[in-house]
């Protein structure tokens, strides 16, 4: 008799369910957003407004999808060390702040900066110098 390994079952299941979420159509996403707990049928009906705009049929899932999207957008922007300009790749570098909860024990180290076209050395040194001046050394 083989041993039940729930962690293997769970990972297999999560992978399969993850694929289902990715495969969900926009209509299914909007419908799910309007089916949140506590909403009345009338509220759901009014929230799913199917409107005809030119060649594309658009489904408005009410404010729930927008609210969720904004929440996720804010979380993503918070990953950037520069929230005013998150992921501005034109700068040649990006600052990242991962989850402290997950990276809690990661050892931080300062590495020498490379001399490359996209090098961060100049802006980094300027920022470091500014920080030192502000802290009064």
């Amino acid at each position: 008799m083989s041993c039940w390994e729930p962690h293997i079952d769970l990972m297999r299941l999560l992978e399969a369910l993850g694929r289902e979420i990715i495969a969900a159509t926009e209509l299914e996403v909007r419908q799910a957003c309007t089916e949140e707990k506590g909403r009345s049928i009338a509220a759901r009906r009014s929230a799913i407004a199917v409107i005809w705009r030119g060649p594309a049929l658009q489904v408005q899932g009410g404010s729930s999808a927008v609210r969720t999207a904004n929440e996720v957008r804010e979380l993503i922007e918070a990953v950037s060390g520069d929230p005013s300009d998150p992921f501005d790749v034109e700068k040649g570098y990006i600052e990242l702040r991962g989850s402290r909860h997950i990276q809690g024990q990661r050892v931080l180290q300062t590495a020498p900066l490379p001399d490359q076209p996209n090098s961060i050395s100049k802006p980094f040194r300027r920022a470091a110098l500014r920080a030192l001046i502000l802290r009064g050394f």
Partner: protein, 193 residues
């Protein structure tokens, strides 16, 4: 290329073509994609120790995608790529928890206790059993969905699940659609505790 800003936890990553592609793909995510992303993060949080929240998983996945620690394979949609990173975060977290136990308990003691040093920690086993029960509860009112869930957990293909339970292809697809909506809905509601 990754560096750390002095006296802060911020990592500074030199931008290469891959980073540019990933950053642009993330910025281009639609509202519906972002809802899917939240549902994915909530889903993968089910595989994590209870102290880790979905926002942590999501932020760590974005960080790992951008800092180059995970390469974005060509032809893989960005959501699938991020979901894959979340999966590896689950593994990493449990591996780390395991290492912490190993620091406290000598390796030979662990062999005696668990039979093998590579066996999962008891915490992981309990957490997984509870998470599987939570997924079952989510679909408790849908017997067909429960059959599909059981089949997926065992690694069966859709054809095998249909054959095993005498389900038609149409029944399978209709049930899958119900499951997707439930998953997305719960991605918005599921408690992370």
């Amino acid at each position: 290329m990754e560096h750390f800003a002095e006296r802060s936890a911020r990592r500074i990553v030199t931008v290469d073509n891959t980073t540019v592609d990933i950053a642009r793909a993330i910025q281009r995510l639609s509202d519906a994609d972002l809802v899917r992303l939240k549902a994915l993060a909530r889903l993968w949080t089910r595989g994590l120790p209870p102290c880790v929240g979905w926002a942590d998983v999501l932020q760590e996945a974005i960080t790992r995608a951008l800092d180059g620690s995970r390469k974005w394979p060509p032809d893989v949609p960005i959501l699938a790529f991020l979901s894959g990173i979340m999966r590896s975060i689950c593994d990493d977290q449990w591996r780390r928890a395991r290492r912490e136990i190993e620091v406290l308990v000598r390796a030979e003691d662990l062999v005696d206790l668990c039979g093998s040093v590579i066996s999962p920690s008891p915490d992981r086993v309990v957490n997984a059993a509870q998470s599987l029960a939570a997924v079952d509860r989510l679909f408790a009112s849908d017997p067909l969905a429960l059959k599909i869930i059981a089949g997926l957990a065992e690694g069966l293909t859709p054809a095998e699940i249909c054959k095993l339970h005498g389900m038609s292809e149409r029944q399978y697809d209709t049930t899958r659609k119900r499951m997707r909506r439930a998953l997305l809905r719960c991605g918005l509601e599921w408690s992370t505790s």
